[in-house]
């Protein structure tokens, strides 16, 4: 049954009925191959011998990311335990690719647990440089540590600050602000409802997102790049937050070229007008990319 949970977005989500239908389908199982430990072709071969066939997600950005149609629980594979694979949503993977930290650089992951994106960035950096992986809540430290150690991440230190008050002691080349959000993009009708009901997003969460984006920007090196990301459709948590940054700092939005379809960010929503640069942000919808609904903006300092 298609319900009305997201009706409030019918004007902003293209092909809305297809979007609604896509929520009735289960999320596909997708895997990132951990290049820090194994060559993708070798892993594909190993799983093939077990009768598990991996399918490339696209022909373009495909060297590490696969779909596993006949696999239900990737966490039950020996290859998972050994850290050869990490089950991850495609859109979540794209956030680290949008940031693409260079080997040897200094990276801050402001909200890191359970570490999917931290470990992917370590992979992109070939385990060099430094990633400060920050996670406020102690009960979220265990999954973060487990992910990083299972995947053989060596270039990280773990901290536990409030992201919005992360010490301004030094600046970073790359910053990921994958902020806490209402999680609407994770909802498929086979799963439970998101934490917060639309329209009732707690003001506290919106304020937190604004504080985190500002602190992230202030921690960015002059030539640095930041990605602000959420897994929600709600413009109040997305465009509105980035608009707030653009209004308060000399920031600019940078183009996002990933080779996957996305819709541009909004410049208007419910009587609000956002900075025109927001067209450069990316909205990912499940009916277009068959993954978690996602928002990201790539941010630099205006020079």
């Amino acid at each position: 049954m298609i319900d009305s949970t997201f009706d409030c977005y019918s004007e902003i989500i293209p092909a809305f009925s297809r979007f609604q239908e896509s929520l009735l389908r289960p999320m596909p199982v997708r895997l990132r191959v951990n290049g820090l430990k194994i060559e993708p072709e070798l892993l594909v071969q190993m799983l093939k011998e077990k009768g598990i066939h991996l399918k490339r997600v696209t022909d373009r950005r495909d060297e590490i990311f696969f779909e596993a149609p006949d696999l239900r629980s990737p966490g039950n594979l020996l290859e998972y335990f050994i850290g050869y694979i990490h089950p991850q949503a495609l859109t979540s993977c794209l956030a680290s690719i949008a940031l693409s930290p260079k080997p040897g650089s200094h990276v801050l992951d402001m909200c890191a647990s359970p570490g999917g994106k931290t470990s992917h960035m370590a992979q992109l950096m070939n385990n060099s440089g430094l990633i400060v992986a920050n996670e406020l809540y102690p009960n979220r430290h265990i999954p973060l540590e487990n992910t990083l150690s299972r995947l053989g991440v060596l270039n990280s230190v773990l901290t536990s600050y409030q992201a919005q008050e992360f010490p301004l002691k030094q600046r970073f080349d790359y910053i990921l602000a994958d902020v806490p959000c209402s999680g609407e993009g994770r909802v498929r009708k086979t799963r439970e409802s998101p934490e917060h009901n639309r329209g009732h997003i707690r003001q506290k969460l919106l304020d937190l997102q604004k504080k985190i984006i500002i602190r992230g920007y202030d921690l960015l090196d002059d030539h640095g790049k930041m990605v602000y990301a959420t897994c929600t459709y709600n413009p109040d948590e997305n465009e509105s937050v980035v608009h707030f940054l653009l209004g308060n700092r000399n920031a600019e939005l940078l183009p996002i070229n990933l080779g996957f379809h996305y819709e541009p960010g909004l410049t208007k929503w419910r009587g609000m007008t956002y900075d025109k640069q927001l067209k450069k942000a990316a909205r990912f919808y499940p009916h277009q990319i068959d993954s978690v609904g996602f928002f990201m903006a790539r941010i630099g300092r205006r020079r």
Binding site: L78, Y80, F81, I82, V132, H141, G152, N155, Y161, Q170
Partner: protein
Amino acid sequence: MKESPHIIRASQFKVWRVGLRSFQRIGSFIKPSTRMIQAFGHLASKAIIDINGADLNKLIAGEFLPVKMELENGYVILSLRGVIPGLGLLIDGTVRTQIPKKEVRLSMI
């Protein structure tokens, strides 16, 4: 190592974990961690025991396996066709697994 610019930068923060935990002290022994062995075991040139899937199954089920190789008692690296799931402990010609039970299940093999 301490002079590395990355370490100098990282030391400015209150850090609760650095990199990958590699060793653990157990009584008077120093035990390599499973994760460290999984990451670096392939670089070892000795104390490696080749096993097959059936052997790994038995080890995980708690069985001891006889080892014919001439090796000293102590930790050994288990290698399943070059894939390293973790450590074993060799005592007087038999090996038992040191792979954490809660993380590896029979269904995985």
